[in-house]
């Protein structure tokens, strides 16, 4: 029986395992050094905040693995010997595979800052980071202030986490506005406001120079690059992005760049070795995507895809229309299609913001063809299926506005804003779009 070994028990590896099991009777082993069981990494924050216990982040009960004959091995792979198809573990033992899937995810970036390995400095990625945070920042007596370096999704989540325990937070963001490499200015500004409204000491256009140690090798303060200011703190969160977690592969014959290089079939240069998820790097970005996509959803899709290939139905990784989501403190964010931080040559934008300043939508469309390109929505939930269909059928921006009521996914009784949105669009664009009433027939067609 063919033995499929998967390194990494995150969403990519586990999805692959589940689908291989559905499609075949192969022997499956998942290897992880992090935890015994699969858990949702995106939910770690809720454990620290006291919304959930760690066990709640585990999507499957413990019997699930045995029932589905998926073997779990705890161990740290230190070397892959592709010739003999052998994994060597740091613990000294080995494991033979017939096919190997590398799904080791990411690790937090460290840019060689002075003091980056002190006690009390951590990322927020692994379960071990959570344990460290619990140790160094259990409350605002032990941790009088925390400094977060890096203004991305994990950074703002870490800020929310610490804030939930009333720990003062200084948030150093290199950019001139939060996440403005991804978000257009309007949305970015809205999130700046949200961060400040939660009492976070947000420092834009600010870089870390170094982290200062106390006499015990623990964080004492950080020094700001631009001003030389010293900020006393007990914890430093390094959240300046992530990169593929592939150090153990570097001296194998598997080709790597920043990540494990894969073709469209998620195959590496070595036969029977595949890579999926955050650690996989495409030779060229697919569609307009990046070569490395460190996103939950893409990890899952790669897992779904590679399982087909491994089970004899060799298919390309061909993700559909881009979508993503996040939550910035109390503001939910969803995006469908592309809305770049800066409009491109052929693009026009439509922006609507609610007067409370916590809700907005931003639509991107082609100014020549009026084709819909993408939407950012903040504080209003929208239907994935609606926009997926719109993008597939290449509908126009006018169509989207006309049928915007079908797109709404907010809970029942919520105030609807479509009328207001369409009105603004009509005024700005001299159009006469009439909002259609929501129709179950269309929604569920």
């Amino acid at each position: 029986m063919e033995h499929i070994v998967i390194i990494g028990n995150g969403i990519s590896g586990v999805t692959a395992a589940r689908h291989i099991r559905k499609l075949s009777d192969k022997k499956i082993t998942i290897v992880s050094a992090e935890t015994d069981y699969f858990f949702s990494r995106t939910a770690l924050m809720y454990v620290y905040m006291g919304h959930m216990k760690f066990e709640h982040t585990q999507p499957y009960e413990d019997w699930f693995w045995k029932k589905n004959r998926i073997e779990l091995k705890k161990g740290f792979v230190k070397q892959i010997e592709t010739k003999s198809k052998t994994l060597h573990f740091a613990e000294g033992d080995t494991l033979q595979y017939d096919k190997l899937i590398i799904a080791t995810g990411s690790k937090p970036n460290k840019f060689g800052w002075h003091g980056q390995d002190l006690d009390g400095v951590m990322g927020m990625y692994h379960k071990q980071d959570l344990e460290k945070l619990e140790k160094y920042a259990p409350n605002n007596k032990v941790c009088k202030r925390a400094v977060i370096v890096g203004g991305g999704l994990i950074g703002i989540e870490l800020a929310e986490m610490l804030h939930s325990r009333h720990i003062p937070v200084t948030f150093l963001v290199r950019e001139s506005s939060f996440w403005n490499g991804v978000l257009p200015e309007e949305e970015s500004t809205m999130i700046n406001r949200e961060i400040l409204a939660n009492g976070i000491d947000l420092r834009l256009s600010t870089n870390l120079k170094e982290i200062v140690s106390d006499e015990n090798g623990q964080v004492k303060s950080v020094i700001i690059q631009e001003t030389g200011e010293e900020i006393l703190c007990n914890v430093v969160g390094l959240t300046a992005g992530v990169s593929p977690n592939i150090d153990f592969i570097k001296d194998s014959s598997i080709e790597t760049g920043r990540g494990v290089k894969v073709n469209r079939y998620l195959e590496t240069n070595i036969p029977d070795v595949y890579a999926v998820g955050d650690c996989a790097e495409q030779h060229e970005g697919i569609d307009q995507r990046r070569t490395i996509e460190a996103v939950w959803y893409t990890g899952r899709m790669m897992g779904e895809t590679v399982a087909q290939t491994i089970c004899g139905n060799r298919i390309q990784y061909k993700p559909g229309h881009w979508f993503n989501s996040a939550k910035f403190f109390d503001i939910e964010y969803q995006t469908y299609g592309w809305v770049w931080a800066q409009p491109r040559e052929n693009e026009a934008r439509f922006y609507w913001e609610h007067k409370d300043g916590n809700k907005c939508i931003h639509i991107n469309y082609d100014k020549n063809t009026r084709g819909f390109i993408g939407i950012n929505t903040f504080g209003i939930r929208m239907r994935h299926e609606f926009f997926d269909k719109v993008l597939t059928k290449k509908e126009s921006v006018d169509y989207v506005l006309e049928y915007l009521a079908d797109a709404n996914f907010d809970p029942e009784f919520y105030k609807l804003h479509e009328k207001d949105i369409v009105k603004k669009f009509n005024t700005e664009n001299n159009t006469n779009i009439q909002l259609k009433k929501k129709s179950w027939k269309r929604i569920f067609a």
Partner: protein, 540 residues
Amino acid sequence: MKIIKQLGLVLFLIGLGIFTGTLFTGSFSLSEAEFDEFITSKNYKSEIIKEELKKATVTEEDLNIFEFSSRVRNAYETSNNHYDTLIAKYDAEKNWDKKGEQYQYKIYGKPHTLSYEIAKKAGSGFVKKHGGLLWWFTFGLAIIGALLFILPNIILLGRPGIKHNGIYHEASTNRGWIAWLVLVYLVVFYLLLYFMADYVVNWTYILDPISKFLNGGPASQWFVYGFLYCVIMLVMAARMYIKYRHNKYQIIRTTSVLFFQIVFAFLIPEIMTSLNMPGYDFKNAFPLDYDFFFEWNLDSLRDSGAIGLFILVWGIILTLIIVPVMVYFFGKRWYCSWVCGCGGLAETLGDPYRQHSDKSLNAWKLERWLIHSVLMFSLVMTLVTLYCYFSGDEAFLGIKSQWIKDTYSFLIGAWFAGVIGTGFYPIFGNRVWCRFGCPLAAYLGLVQRFKSRFRITTNGGQCISCGNCSTYCEQGIDVRAYAQKGENIVRSSCVGCGICSAVCPRGVLKLENGPEKGRINPTDILLGNDVDLMDLVNQK
């Protein structure tokens, strides 16, 4: 703000302390005249009970309720023992005539009930005399204290949004010592209420003035329960309004359960009683209202003229037509989390404990066995009762009508719905009864599962498997198991509280009523991936 909160907590505890303390106060005895009046009203034939009860209750001694209760119950027992001995004796002598004669002297009913009836008349003391004043020192203090504890959350919780911070760090909400204390208090409360009402007779004095105002008569232990129920729901609804002030679905739903509890379950029956009608809760549908078809209720309705007939017809229409039709259009939520009293308490008092429901597959299996067994139990009981009612027999299919009614009332009505259902909130979550026991929920669930427009829609491929939805599902549904497969949630047990949708950080879940077609949509490959792959796998 924190100081206000702490002050509130102290006031609440003082109020609760005095409330509990009143149970140990008062002096219980009857005058000769009161005693005679009581005995006449009872029509006892036994001389022994008269004599024994008189010894027990007509006294100069300063008896508290526990001593008083014990004496009354002794008298009850002595009398019955006496006749039991005679019965045994004549039985041995095969003197059937004499034996048969003795039964008329026996007294029936629960000793604690007899004790309660006498104690209600026999009490004297500060509480009875100053019921109104005591109301302020018990209910008044506790309400003000609780509100002072709750209202500062408008500021302390921060900006509107889901603020479950610290739920798993607190002893009260993480099965710590506070939770266990609350459990013990609630369980003892229910045991006293259901089985030893005489012990809480002092509470009825506190509410006598309000009861007299509402229905003209003194308060019973059920009045105390109903009033307390409303007060608790009101106060805890204030908490819900603050916690979910960003979520209109929760606000409206909370208002709805509050309205139905106060108006339908409490005020209307009280007013009906004062008008000499049978007090009826018009929203309480059979088989949750399990004694609707009991002889005493049917007799009472029959004797109440037009209104009685109306109630009878309404009760039948409610169960057979209104309930399933509404479930078809809106899901069982219209009843369970918008109208029902049990649901109302669960959604207010129980909300802090919702995360404790068991999400395991085994719990789901247990749930299906238990709840459908209770449904069968209630139907068999009703069948037997109705058959016996119309035929005049004592039993049907070998099941004695009285026995099955008593057994159901005791096991399901008192223990399951009350003691376990509510008493265990802090440890097993707030919907134990609704999930495992309620026969009406089982019935609604069957309709919801097989013939309804209701579902929780999963928003394409947006789920990140975080588990907030499952954690906060009070019905123990593993919501995430569906959402992470891109599959809608269609489950008989879902009461549509809407919290899964509220706590989802990615906007994945929406409660909605739509066409039946495509309501159940199992998928293997989620939206967002290769369309050809989706077609290939999902359409297999």
